[in-house]
């Protein structure tokens, strides 16, 4: 693990220790965030899958009827029948906050004077299959909107989870070990200096004592 380029001083040590503390706390928080996001994500994505299956089945059914309608009606009549929709749909988007990820919430409003009659054409020139197709589509519409919401939320959460995971890993496997190691390096360096200083002092003391009392010369004289 690469060390940080630092001067082995006490100031630096104190600074690094503070950074390590912050990194540890950040790591814990991010980990909690990731876990909670994952929980929410799995709920949403399960719903997403279910809705998608339902919607796809319904659409295929509608397309089946639609194909039949196409076969029994001429192109022009079909186009004409669908040209002026009776209802119009508008959409409101509000945002929901899931663990500080903003996801959209769709509310749609159907503007239609007569909810029981959604068919924008008279029944004289059109086939029953077309009614069926439109009916199924109308049923599918609400589910499709729910699907849109779930799928968009799932996508956004997935991205946020990926980002959070990267950050957790960067902290856990890079920044924190790096800081720890640098702190260890500085502590050892400081300790070593301390020991060096101590021996130097002892040596100096010996020399000063020697100068003051001339132990060695006295020893020699005795002999």
């Amino acid at each position: 693990m690469a060390l940080l380029q630092v001067n082995p001083t006490r100031m630096e040590l104190a600074r690094l220790k503070k950074r390590l503390q912050v990194a540890r706390r950040g790591h814990k928080l991010l980990k909690d965030k990731r876990d909670e996001l994952m929980k929410k994500f799995l709920d949403i994505v399960r719903k997403n899958k279910e809705l998608r299956e339902q919607v796809e089945a319904m659409l295929m059914k509608a397309y089946g009827s639609f194909l039949m309608a196409r076969a029994v009606m001429s192109n022009e009549v079909l186009e004409e029948a669908l040209m002026f929709p009776k209802q119009s749909v508008s959409l409101e988007i509000s945002t929901k906050n899931i663990m500080s990820v903003k996801v959209p919430e769709f509310h749609f409003r159907v503007e239609n004077n007569d909810a029981s009659n959604i068919y924008p054409y008279g029944f004289a020139n059109t086939s029953a299959e077309l009614d069926e197709a439109i009916g199924t589509l109308a049923e599918a519409q609400l589910l499709m909107l729910e699907l849109a919401q779930a799928e968009k939320s799932a996508q956004m959460l997935a991205m946020e989870i990926e980002r959070t995971r990267r950050r957790v890993n960067a902290l856990e496997y890079f920044l924190i070990p790096q800081l720890e190691e640098t702190i260890k390096y500085i502590t050892m360096k400081l300790d070593e200096n301390e020991r060096g200083n101590l021996t130097r002092l002892m040596k100096v003391k010996d020399m000063m004592l020697e100068q003051a009392h001339h132990f060695r010369e006295k020893q020699k004289a005795k002999e």
């Binding site: 994952m38 994500f41 799995l42 994505v45 399960r46 997403n48 899958k49 998608r52 919607v55 796809e56 659409l59 295929m60 509608a62 397309y63 639609f66 194909l67 196409r70 079909l78 186009e79 669908l82 929709p85 009776k86 209802q87 119009s88 749909v89 508008s90 959409l91 409101e92 988007i93 945002t95 903003k102 959209p104 769709f106 749609f108 159907v110 503007e111 239609n112 959604i118 068919y119 924008p120 197709a133 439109i134 589509l137 109308a138 499709m144 909107l145 699907l147 849109a148 919401q149 799928e151 968009k152 799932a154 996508q155 956004m156 959460l157 997935a158 991205m159 989870i161 990926e162 995971r165």
Partner: protein, 107 residues
């Protein structure tokens, strides 16, 4: 106030017009990309796009994935269901979890 758009081949999406959605029939991938970008600018909240139309322009669709809207949602087209939509769901699971844990029992 947002609108809902549908992009795809004419046969698949014509029915949605009766429901009051705005339909945009396209034939060429370049047309699809252009329409998609235009709808992105013009305040569409949800854009449904058939899988056949979406397949060649997935990069354009990815442009919208970070944005709040429009939500670009794949739907099957009239000529069958290649399963790209489901694949996308699976992909986001893999992205988030690192492994596919929702669909694995179906393979």
């Amino acid at each position: 106030m947002y609108r809902i758009g549908v992009i795809g081949d004419r046969d698949s999406i014509l029915g949605f017009r009766a429901l009051g959605l705005d339909v945009f029939p396209v034939n060429e991938p370049s047309e699809t990309a252009e329409t998609l970008r235009r709808l992105g600018r013009e305040g569409y909240g949800v854009v449904y796009i058939t899988e056949q139309a979406a397949a060649p322009v997935m990069d354009v669709i990815d442009e919208f994935s970070e944005k709040m809207h429009p939500a670009v949602i794949l739907i099957p087209g009239i000529r069958g269901n290649p399963g790209i939509g489901m694949l996308n769901v699976r992909k986001s699971v893999e992205k988030a979890v690192g492994a596919d844990i929702i669909f694995r029992d179906e393979k």
